[in-house]
């Protein structure tokens, strides 16, 4: 009986990958456990082992094919004397078109096109290039490391492994082990060391593999890095960046799925950045590395592989405390940041089809926070919905709602609605996980509610 070998999922967030290389040919005998292919995910190139034994009857996806969806058949194993073309029919039919398919455009990339006005962040006419958030972050670090010999990166697997999420890929080769430092798995220890190194004159970038592990080190982020400039009467600023994946990824459960935006944004002495687009990721990370203060830079694993237009400039930064208006509108304002922008922009698209003109604001930095842009928008639209993936209690959205209530009460035609993650630890089950996060449908409903529609 022929067996179709399927494209494997090799990371929690992998939906497709590139079949980099076949290590077997048609007619070869394959043993269980034998490495048969190399598959490239957005994080790494992985070896793929056969589970079943058999003869390679047919290679269904050619080497070098990109965009192969998880669970698509890639190879057919047959028994001796069996016909390679007569096989588990339903799956085989799907294989051919997938193999030829180009890299699917990320749904969020399309959102770039709806930006309603030129960015204030770079001059009109600036040439743009398409880039993933991952590449943007790597470029930002590489450019700043080239420009300043005291900028260095440290963290778990940032060097030889090339980054757990491939953000630091190539940096060890270019800058060497003195400036790209692999640490043992000791968050509080290496974070404290990095703070000391910053006081000693370096500009460390500390990568937390994910911000969940920053809890081990939060004492140094708050008590050592954030407060000492104040406690020293201005003598001891701490030029350091804490960066890494924050928030829910996919199916990794409660301990690895938490958004710390509101936690860190509540601390005076820290600056907190949470970019959505690749251009913002690059410009804001470069700004963070140059800032003389501790900056918490919150990335998102799901966003790493998303592509955006990024200005093709040798050097550009984006200032802190400047929100970006992604689309202008008159009926209601959606305020969001980070991955929350996905829901905000999707909702605005849906609502536009129903005749509602929605202004969408990406805060980009949570501390300092651009209150003026938010309040000016509300003076225009008189309605506001705040969107984020974090927990609802003491969320950024709560803070925004309270600020809007205190500073723009007379302009409001409806109470501000906050759309957040649910008040539960992140469940593992796929259906429950979806429910625990904020959804586009909830944002659409909230906007309709504040518009009394």
């Amino acid at each position: 009986m022929a067996i179709d070998v399927l494209m494997p999922a090799l990371s929690p967030t992998m939906e497709e990958g590139t079949l980099a290389k076949w290590l077997v040919a048609e007619g070869d005998h394959v043993k269980s456990g034998q490495i048969i292919a190399e598959i490239e995910t957005d994080k790494a190139t992985m070896e793929f082992e056969a589970v079943d034994e058999g003869i390679v009857g047919k290679i269904l996806v050619a080497a070098g094919t990109a965009g192969v969806k998880v669970n698509d058949p890639i190879l057919r194993l047959i028994e001796a004397g069996e016909d390679a073309n007569a096989a588990p029919a339903p799956a085989a039919a799907k294989a051919a078109p997938v193999a030829a398919a180009p890299l699917a455009a990320a749904p969020t990339a399309a959102a770039v096109a709806v930006v309603s006005k030129a960015s204030p962040d770079w001059p009109a006419g600036t040439p743009m290039k398409t880039m993933t958030v991952r590449e943007a972050l790597r470029e930002a670090m590489a450019e700043e490391m080239r420009a300043n010999p005291n900028v260095m990166l440290m963290g778990e697997e940032v060097g030889e492994y090339q980054g757990a999420y491939k953000i630091s890929q190539g940096l060890l080769d270019e800058f060497g082990p003195k400036r790209v430092v692999d640490t043992p798995i000791t968050e509080i220890g290496f974070t404290g060391i990095a703070v000391g190194a910053a006081w000693g004159g370096l500009n460390p970038i500390v990568e937390f593999m994910t911000f969940n592990f920053s809890l081990q080190a939060i004492d140094h982020i708050l008590n050592s890095a954030a407060k000492t400039n104040y406690m020293s009467g201005g003598q001891l600023g701490c030029p350091i960046v804490f960066r890494g994946a924050n928030g829910a990824a996919a199916r990794v459960g409660a301990q690895h799925s938490q958004d710390f935006a509101a936690w860190y944004a509540s601390i005076p002495g820290l600056k907190v950045v949470m970019p959505y687009s690749a251009a913002d990721a690059k410009g804001l990370l470069k700004q963070a590395i140059r800032d003389p203060n501790p900056v918490v830079f919150l990335e998102n694993e799901i966003m790493y592989g998303q592509s955006f237009e990024v200005p093709d400039l040798p050097d550009f930064t984006i200032p802190f405390g400047k929100a970006r208006i992604w689309r202008e509108g008159t009926d209601a304002t959606i305020v969001s940041f980070g991955i929350g922008m996905r829901y905000a922009l999707e909702a605005a698209d849906i609502l536009a089809k129903e005749g509602l003109s929605i202004e969408v604001i990406d805060l980009r930095t949570l501390r300092p926070l651009d209150y003026d842009t938010v309040l000016a928008s509300i003076q225009k639209t008189n309605r506001c919905v705040c969107v984020e993936e974090g927990f609802p209690v003491a969320s950024m959205s709560d803070h925004l709602a309270s600020t809007i209530m205190q500073r723009a009460f007379d302009y409001l035609d409806a109470p501000v609605i906050t759309c957040t993650g649910k008040d539960v630890p992140m469940p593992y089950a796929a259906n429950l996980e979806k429910l625990a996060l904020v959804t586009t449908a909830e944002v659409v409903a909230a906007v309709k509610s504040v518009c009394y529609r």
Binding site: G196, H220, M231
Partner: protein
């Protein structure tokens, strides 16, 4: 690898050394006495309500920091815990600025915004003053990392107590400091008590420096009540670090005469124990005896020094009382660099 354990009788050895100069002994005497009189005055001001909050006095432990400061050169760094007044005075920070910080005044090192536990001086390479037990240990290693990165031969003195020695981050730091050969001296000021918990009640380890051996870090126990023994051990540790051989641990066996903080009733030890240490092991009396015994100084000379120190301390108290409270506009300054 050095793993030598020496006990309290090194004091006798050092005391008989004839090659210690009069100037050197007088310098130690003066510096230790300044710390003691300063701390006594701080205790007094606390009692008067001029100093608030937590105030941890260094009385009894003076020989540790004075002996180690004698091993430093310009560029060397130091970082310690909240029991930090002695370290600041020993590295040359101004008594007025320290005392005025204790009273929360504009003339303080942190302009009144840090307090007893949070003072810093970039000029003197003093990096705090840290209120979280053990947090200064990786910070000290990080300061050393910056020096190694820059390729100089500076050394960082990282002080912590026997209580902090049980914090996990200390061992994370040991591991990385040795892995990366960082020029850091870990100085464990073992005064026998972590607040009210004696070392015996918190660990079965017989030495604290010995734990470093598991990470490959050499170290030794030193009579921390004998400034000459401290100095000798410090020189050895400094030579190790400056030669690029990585970290070194000095476990200073010392004793704090006062409570953990001003609000400590000290029920965890007997009055006799404290009095015995004062009578038999006092670091200042030890140097005084050396000076007088060897005929290097007479009572009048020492009295004159006592008077000078008293004047400095009294002046610092006056300064700390007269310096105004920070302007209310200071509330929102210095949050960001």
């Amino acid at each position: 690898m050095a793993a030598k354990s020496t006990t309290a009788d090194t004091g006798a050895t050092a005391g008989k050394k004839s090659n210690v100069s009069k100037d050197e002994l007088l310098k130690y005497y003066r510096e230790m006495l300044l710390i003691r009189r300063f701390e006594e005055k701080a205790g007094q001001l606390y009692g008067m309500g001029l100093i608030g909050g937590f105030c941890h006095l260094y009385i009894g432990q003076e020989a540790v920091v004075v002996g180690l400061e004698a091993c430093t050169k310009e560029g060397d760094k130091r970082v310690t815990s909240y029991r930090d007044h002695g370290h600041m005075l020993a590295c040359g920070m101004d008594a007025n600025g320290v005392m005025a910080e204790l009273t929360g005044r504009e003339g303080g090192y942190s302009r009144g915004k840090g307090g007893s536990m949070h003072m810093f001086s970039r000029e003197k390479h003093f990096y705090g003053g840290h209120g979280i037990v053990g947090a200064q240990v990786p910070i000290g290693a990080g300061l050393a990392m910056a020096d190694k990165y820059k390729g100089n031969d500076n050394v960082t003195f990282t002080y912590f107590g026997d209580g902090a020695a049980n914090q996990g981050q200390v061992y994370e730091t040991y591991n990385m400091a040795e892995l990366w050969d960082l020029p850091v001296i870990f100085v464990i000021e073992n005064n026998g008590y972590a607040m009210g918990t004696s070392v015996k009640r918190s660990t079965k380890s017989t030495t604290l420096f010995g734990r470093g051996l598991a990470y490959g870090i050499p170290g030794e126990q030193v009579d921390g009540m004998d400034v000459l023994a401290v100095k000798a051990a410090g020189e050895k540790a400094v030579a190790h670090c400056r030669a690029g051989k990585g970290p070194y641990i000095l476990e200073m066996m010392t004793y704090r005469y006062r409570g953990h903080s001003m609000s400590d009733p000290a029920k965890y030890r007997t009055r006799e124990e404290v009095e015995k240490m004062k009578a038999e092991k006092d670091a200042i009396e030890h140097v005084r005896d050396l000076l007088l015994g060897a005929g290097l100084a007479n009572e009048d000379e020492l009295k004159a020094i006592d008077k000078q120190i008293k004047d400095v301390v009294n002046a610092s108290a006056e300064f700390a009382k007269d310096s105004p409270e920070p302007s209310v506009s200071e509330l929102y300054t210095d949050i960001y660099a």
